[in-house]
Symmetry: C2
Subunit: 171 residues, 2 copies
């Protein structure tokens, strides 16, 4: 079972933190890769790669101009997260049967064709909120919480959970 | 059972979208209120209030300079979300016994005293990611997914979930 995230419509400057958070949520909650579209931004690629280098695992980030092709060429199932889609709580048991998911999250304006080419359009609540929040809940639900036990081999930095205060170990 | 979110360290300009997403995730996933600290930002308050006016419910946003007092004056239980805390998956059944939660989410730098004054320091994964993502998963777990069925009375705008495309109704 693998998950790839496709982030649409990145704009350097304006979207740096949003796209970085999408990437880091993807990595932390079990995706193996994020592909972003929109405008290329080497700063984002470097900062995500730096997190991977320090915190371990094999998460990858890459740019693809043609987002349509990423979705239409996808060999397995694609899920577009959108406020307009069907409720996650009614669709998840069906979606969980599919392995090798492509999870598509929008930027400011999502082209109408994305709703047509994705296999599923899924809403994490039908209220306006956040693509980062929606992605986090989706990944958590898809993996039934098991993603929280994921290991990140080769980490140079690791948190030792504490009741109070901060503790990290460096290797 | 009510949830109030406290967002620390807001900086106008730089944090506008992050804090707005924190507020909208809070509203969509069942919190009744967000209090933000850092610098006051009337733009954020207006945009969140506009969402409430259009999309319904009674969610509130307010500013409080003294975040310490919000936490220490809190009559019930406070939960600080941090990468350094104890794993959510091991603490949630205990936290769920508490009603009227204050959920504290950091900005760029969280003062050390927050770790001391909060009742719980909780990690949604011990990997670096996103306060928005962590907040979303926490709210979803706390309410066991029931928050996705929440009603927002008085809405002028409502999404009618679709398999493909977008449908909203206006009242």
């Amino acid at each position: 079972m693998t998950i790839t995230v496709l982030r649409l419509g990145h704009r350097p400057g304006r979207d740096v933190r949003m796209t970085t958070h999408c990437a880091l949520v993807s990595r932390a909650l079990g995706a193996k890769e994020i592909i972003y579209s929109g405008e290329r931004d080497s700063g984002i690629e470097e900062s995500v790669s730096k997190v991977v280098k320090n915190w371990g695992g094999k998460f990858k980030i890459s740019y693809e101009k043609n987002f349509r092709r990423v979705i239409t060429d996808w060999k397995s199932t694609s899920v577009h997260l959108t406020i307009y889609g069907l409720p996650i709580q009614k669709q998840m048991s069906k979606i969980r049967k599919h392995k090798n998911l492509l999870v598509v999250v929008g930027g400011e304006k999502v082209p109408g064709e994305v709703y047509q080419v994705a296999d599923y359009n899924i809403a994490v609540s039908s209220q306006p909120h956040s693509e980062i929040g929606a992605l986090a809940v989706f990944l958590h639900e898809y993996s039934k919480g098991k993603e929280l036990y994921k290991n990140f081999p080769g980490a140079k930095l690791k948190v030792i959970p504490q009741e109070r205060g901060k503790k990290t170990v460096k290797k």
